[in-house]
Symmetry: C2
Subunit: 276 residues, 2 copies
């Protein structure tokens, strides 16, 4: 397993700057975000990572499948982009209850039909998985911490993600194990073992306590929160995962810091608290 920089950790860096940063710090892989790739240009981004000899450990992100609209078209574009970038997977954040907006008060249009939203995810996946398979792209279903169930992901546990993923060939649909989202789950070790080769991405960051007011920004540098990483890393290794380990931190303080210092800290903490 090798360390990878998810570029959202150094949010102010463009794709070009993040690629340079990875090379400067001796990293072999990078996780890219679609909007940054769009800003840089897809062809230019492909050239940058290839010239630098970097692996693209993931493209973030597809998903938001629960509210209809043009979600399928947008996801097909995301799959095409992941194919161009030869990303190891396309991370799928599946979306919350229809009509519930992140951070916004509920309106009369908000749905409470959680079972229905989950059914829509399954239906959309049935459309997208073969499309991804034809292009050699693996969709990586990401269960999110239940705190995000209303507005970001009705996929709430690794077990639930596996129930969906296992309906498809392992080359088409895998799962993300993200420490922030799964650390509390009493079934997580059992489900990591069950996942085996379904693990398409292992992402790490800490769970801060107390969470900040905007709970999306509760992702901290490893060692700054309550997660005991080593048992999870050992379980992911034992399940057969040998891909890259992405550090993906959403955190106002981390974003305000010098990105080179963030990457240096990330490397040190990875050795100290993430690797067994």
């Amino acid at each position: 397993m090798n360390l990878s920089l998810n570029q959202w950790t150094t949010r102010r860096w463009s794709v070009a700057e993040a690629v340079d940063g990875c090379v400067r710090h001796g990293l072999e892989a990078i996780g890219l975000w679609r909007q940054n790739v769009a800003d840089q240009g897809l062809a230019e981004s492909v050239k940058l990572v290839r010239d630098a000899g970097l692996r693209v450990s993931s493209l973030c992100r597809g998903g938001f499948l629960t509210s209809g609209g043009d979600a399928l078209d947008d996801n097909r574009r995301a799959i095409d982009e992941a194919a161009e970038l030869e990303a190891a997977c396309l991370v799928m954040v599946v979306g919350g209850l229809p009509g519930v907006q992140p951070g916004e008060p509920l309106t009369a249009g908000a749905s409470r039909d959680l079972a229905g939203a989950r059914e829509r995810v399954a239906e959309a996946l049935a459309e997208l998985a073969p499309y991804a398979g034809e292009r050699g792209v693996k969709l990586a279903l990401e269960p999110l911490h239940p705190i995000y169930c209303p507005d970001r992901a009705v996929l709430s546990t690794l077990g639930q993600a596996l129930d969906l993923a296992e309906q498809y060939p392992v080359e088409q649909v895998g799962v993300v194990v993200d420490t922030f989202h799964v650390w509390w789950d009493p079934r997580v070790f059992e489900d990591i073992a069950r996942a085996g080769r379904r693990i398409a991405s292992y992402q790490v960051c800490d769970y801060l306590h107390p969470l900040p007011e905007d709970v999306l920004l509760g992702r901290g540098m490893m060692g700054d929160g309550v997660i005991d990483f080593k048992p999870i890393t050992r379980a992911v290794q034992a399940a057969g995962y040998s891909g890259d380990v992405e550090v993906e931190i959403f955190n106002a303080d981390v974003w305000a810091a010098d990105p080179d210092e963030v990457v240096a800290t990330m490397k040190a903490r990875y050795e100290d608290v993430v690797l067994p």
Copy 2:
């Protein structure tokens, strides 16, 4: 199933005032809190509920078993109080990671040993369950939403609570189904059916979106949040539960409102959105 007022919903009411309020609004049951009972006096509280002909649907709360200290002694006192009050159960909020304080920044003494904390809960329960059984008190293990895993309850799912409870006679250890804590769980219907007679308490309140800064206060009046109550109520009924349904709301606006209006709203919403 009958509606019960958990007195924390009308937080400024003493036990005497809450008992009066229940009678005035035609409620047959009340959920009491230990600190309010202590303020009123245990013997006086017992007399008040008996004279009013109310059932005590629960006593809140025992638990906080993970940090050692005098937790067992305090829980034995809570069991004695529940016996005096003839409460249907003693709600157990088991505690978080040792050394992690609710709402307080992490200190050097904070533990990250989640598996160890869970083991401590199991060990403490082995001490307390027979003591409760001898006094005719049922301990009701309450799984809390995973957002509270660091600081309040390492018991995070109904399935996990059942794994513990099922090691004891059903008269000694049951579980709480609280809509706020379990609504997101993909296994909740399966686990409610599995629980059957283990369900010692059914508590309802809504899950607000977005959550307030103090996430403890994200419990809203039924109908104000994202939960679809009727399927959960139907499942709890189908599992064989015929006890009281407690409304337990922690919410700054509800606490600021006139308690009589809160109870009137609670009754109306119970009919409209909770009962199938």
